[in-house]
Amino acid sequence: MTKEPQQSAQATRDITYAAAVREAMSEEMRRDPRVLLFGEDVGVYGGAFGVSVGMIEEFGPERVRDTPISEAAIVGMAAGAALTGLRPIAEIQFSDFLVLALDQLGNQAAKMRYMFGGKARVPMVVRAPEGSGTGAAAQHCQSQEAIYCHLPGLKVVVPSTPYDAKGLLKASIRDDNPVVFLEQKLLYRKSGPIPEQDYVVPLGKADIKRKGKDVTVVTWGRMVPMCLDVAAVLEKDGIQVEVVDPRTLVPLDRATIIESVCKTGRVVIVHEAVQTAGYGGEIAAVIADSDAFFHLDAPIRRVAGYDVPIPYNPKLEKAAVPTPERIERAVRDLLA
């Protein structure tokens, strides 16, 4: 099962991606008193991107806490809280800063359950916004999901729509493992429909955002809407693109991706993160070492960020990451 009713027969309402995140957190905090949120400026300020606006008013300063500027402390605190019975959500203001907490995240939180022989559980979520496009330059615009995918013990989630964001965050909060939940800066203001009633999107299940028979495009995060736009353009030339959004990078829904490539025989992997050692390489290897290999009628292509720091100049900032033109050209090349 790969396609979920994003727009089911039931009633939906449009909310922004940011609001979807907020709703997920709020609903889980209402549902489970062990859930709490902390990070820099999440309380009084309402979050650097306004995601947690109104929450401190509803849940009070014990459950919505402002922290000092120390990512290691924030994540370490989350790990400890989780270990001792709470279900914390730690917000890191820019995903770029998460590397400051790598020891707490990767050596401690990620490893504790294993190293304590299963006796410990670390049910925590670390949320952080990724991505370029806001002109925030090299240290505030990166996409580094590959780092966290590389640490066993962590789950990594990258939602691309308000629907996915809300459903996946709830699932992440309910998950007993440390989950790195990477939001997309430039999508915060984007609206999308969500069902009226409560729902959860399970982790580890990809979503086929658009069906097609000629080329598979595997993509996540902010690149998903860009790929969908390119697919619409290509449709006019009779090229039918299938867009597969893994949604969860670890654990990866290999089956959906492989099935799609078997069908189309061609695949382009698109991600904003830098190409070298990007997660696209992992997916490419998964495809190449699967049944889908024997259906490939063209090499596996990646369209990803160039191996450069994100520039400050707006034109260069756009050009440093995939553009619709690059994606379109890659697809056409495979069909040449």
Binding site: G265, F293, F294, H295, L296, D297, A298, P299, R301, R302, D333, A336
Partner: protein, 442 residues
């Protein structure tokens, strides 16, 4: 590090190419993608683009030289490398074989977007470059990849190539026809086969046989018979000596057809041609110039109106003549005409019966010809060509559109004897009386 410019393999069967001319001189700056030289293969002239940027260091093969594919014909590099020998350049070059130049390579992962530096390792000779999907399908369909023409951008066999090859194989064609089609780049699908069971043979591809036939009865095709010679001579003479001009008119024949039907109701129905002979005779009576012949120093006027009707035989053409049509009615004309035509068809006309027509009518209407121009039949000075009767929309006297039966007449006249106005008046009169026979009473 210099980059070799090689003779590209621009087609599966291409073994060599010939340099036509270089578009850049030694020492010129070259940008990747720029046309560098022109070559010609046995099929086509084409431009070769530079695979890398750099300075053209040297030209190894020049105008008119034939080079095996993939052999270096020049080098691109930096200014510092200028002056190096081609051997030095060859050893230092990171020549990236062009996309279509490596038939023996296996599809190994190509380093993406490598700027002119990566060496594609070649696999064991004899293996065909193909995508995994293509190989799978080839295995399923029992297609030999080595026989498949690749269309992939890197010279690899793609899925569609295997499908096409399998499809081609299903077409019934002789091995020679297949080989020739492949060499000439022709498609077998859609060719009508003339061999047993609809098999496509070489001849069906429109290719000439390499060996001209030893003897070709085609040279002896239907030797000119006596009759054919005569027709040829006479009509040539007529056409080439008499200055022909042509007048056309479209005639409404409803009244003519009604008249014919009326006569037919009362007895044997005369042929349409008999009517035409009668009308023509009446028209000639009033325009006697049409009954004359040019004899060089005199114009001879014939005493009687003898009209010939062109009859098509199996192997020729003959015009039985009805004498003195001016004095005969339609029925009398028909009575004479009918047996003459029968004799004409069976080749039994006597010379007296087919010579001396002063005016000839040729009717190709029954062959479905709408209109045509005929060649004057000597000794006459004019011939009337009659076309088929067709229902057409016409604008009638009231300006309304009606459907009438019309027939086109084309009169060929010998301008030495019949001037334009004379011919025109005759034809107009003829057309008028056909349309309204009562005019003959005038």
């Amino acid at each position: 590090m210099a980059t070799a410019v090689i003779m590209p393999k621009a087609g599966m069967s291409m073994e060599t190419g010939t340099v036509v001319r270089w578009l850049k001189k030694v020492g010129d700056q070259v940008t990747s993608g720029e046309p560098l030289l022109e070559i010609t293969t046995d099929k086509v002239d084409m431009e070769v683009e530079a695979e890398a940027s750099g300075i053209l260091l040297c030209i190894l093969k020049d105008h008119g030289e034939e080079v095996p594919v993939t052999e270096p014909i020049g080098y691109l590099g930096t200014l510092a490398e200028m002056g190096k020998s081609s051997a030095e350049l060859a050893s230092s070059s990171a020549s990236r074989p062009g996309p279509a130049s490596a038939p023996a390579l296996v599809a190994e992962p190509v380093p993406a977007a490598a700027a002119g530096g990566g060496q594609i390792p070649s696999a064991a000779p004899g293996s065909v470059r193909s995508t995994p999907a293509a190989r799978r399908l080839a295995g399923e369909l029992q297609v030999d990849l080595a026989q498949v023409s690749p269309t992939g951008p890197n010279g690899e066999v793609r899925l569609r190539d295997v499908t096409a090859a399998a499809q081609k194989a299903r077409v019934r064609a002789s091995p020679l026809a297949r080989r020739v089609a492949e060499l000439e780049g022709k498609e077998l699908a859609g060719v009508a086969g003339s061999g047993p069971g609809g098999r496509i043979l070489r001849a069906d591809l429109g290719q000439p046989a390499p060996v001209p036939p030893l003897f070709s009865p085609a040279e002896v095709r239907t030797p000119v018979s006596g009759k054919r010679k005569v027709i040829a001579e006479r009509l040539s003479q007529s056409k080439f000596t008499a200055p022909h001009y042509y007048l056309r008119v479209a005639v409404e024949v409803d009244n003519l057809l009604a008249a014919r039907a009326a006569v037919g109701a009362a007895g044997p129905k005369p042929s349409l041609n008999a009517f035409l002979l009668k009308y023509a005779a009446e028209a000639i009576k009033r325009h006697p110039t049409l009954n004359t012949a040019w004899e060089g120093d005199a114009i001879v006027s014939h005493p009687t109106i003898d009209i010939g009707l062109a009859v098509a035989q199996q192997d020729g053409l003959i015009t039985p003549v009805v004498r003195d049509c001016g004095s005969k009615g339609v029925l009398a004309i028909e009575a004479e005409l009918k047996p003459l035509v029968e004799k004409a068809l069976s080749g039994k006309l006597l010379p007296a019966e087919y010579s001396g027509a002063t005016f000839t009518i040729s009717n190709l209407g029954s062959f479905g010809v709408d209109e045509f121009t005929a060649i004057i039949n000597p000794p006459g000075s004019a011939i009337l060509a009659v076309g088929a009767i067709r229902k057409e929309p016409v604008v009638d006297a009231d300006g309304a559109v009606a459907v009438r039966s019309r027939m086109r007449l084309t009169l060929s006249c010998d301008h030495r004897v019949i001037d334009g106005a004379v011919g025109g008046r005759f034809l107009r009169f003829l057309a008028d009386v056909i349309e309204d026979p009562s005019r003959l009473l005038l």
